[in-house]
Symmetry: C2
Subunit: 178 residues, 2 copies
């Protein structure tokens, strides 16, 4: 039989809540209640909230880049299309914000380890995009700007679409990117 893997379920539930309302939107008690255990048992798997938040951002980042694949792999144009689609999927399939987008908005109030993990996500994004743009024949200076622009447009597009309750606004906002 498939083992419950409580730690994974904790992360799943916490991620969903965090991507809806930020770092304060998930609590040990709510997570425990949804699984059907006690809040003390959640502390067994993640000793503190900041440890849970850090694991959350780390797993989200890893999953994200597993989908994107090697920046030196497929054709640059194809990779960029895949990049935009990854954000779109997070919004439309999950119906949620980007976890690190939410954390990024409130970064100054996050515990240092969570803030670090959030920063790492954006650093990896910048790095991945810089590589792809350079392969596409762009000068390093321009690649840097293009990378920052793409991240910004996609994170902002998610906020705008969710705020207005209109997923079509996401597509409108990022139409010029791909």
């Amino acid at each position: 039989m498939t083992k419950p893997d409580t730690a994974e379920r904790i992360l799943d539930i916490a991620e969903k809540a965090a991507r809806t309302g930020g770092y304060n939107a998930f609590s040990f008690r709510e997570i425990a209640a949804e699984i059907g255990i006690k809040s003390a048992s959640v502390h067994y798997h993640f000793p503190t909230k900041e440890a849970l938040g850090e694991a959350l951002a780390g797993r989200y980042s890893d999953n994200f880049f597993k989908v994107l694949g090697d920046p030196q792999g497929a054709e640059p144009a194809e990779l960029l299309k895949r990049y935009v689609a990854a954000y779109g999927a997070a919004l439309k399939q999950d119906g949620l914000m980007c976890l690190c987008g939410v954390f990024g908005a409130e970064i100054a109030d996050l515990p240092p380890p969570v803030a670090r993990a959030t920063r790492a996500f954006f650093e990896r994004n910048l790095d991945w995009l810089r590589q792809v743009h350079c392969r596409h024949g762009m000068a390093p200076e321009q690649a840097e700007k293009a990378a920052a622009h793409m991240i910004a447009a996609l994170e902002g597009a998610m906020i705008l679409a969710r705020a207005m309750g209109d997923a079509a606004l996401f597509d409108a906002a990022v139409a010029r990117l791909s």
Copy 2:
């Protein structure tokens, strides 16, 4: 003498906290402590937290569009430059996020009146930009996309710059806009 105008001070303090850590980052007690009154007195000016949040978003929006001015006023190119500068000022002068950007990221967890006021901010943004772009000779369809794109890029650029602790990333991300 200048009267204290407690309500205004409450809004100032709450706005700063909210633009740092979102809706849960400001509390009646913290606001009261910073002013030097009791939390019950804050309830006198704003009966509930959602009323305070709503007033917060409303005032932020009004101030923002007072800076921008009439979309039918100055030259379109000049207006767009002013628009980008307004976001840049919010980030660099205040050192804070856009209030409605933070609220937008956690909109699904906000009390309905606060969510409405946040949506109204973005609606006004879309409207203002649509008008300016149309005046600039853009077709309505393209103006809609361009408007959504600008809002998204600017909100996202603020998140990225704050998350990475590097204001230059804001300029890099929005370089192509103006």
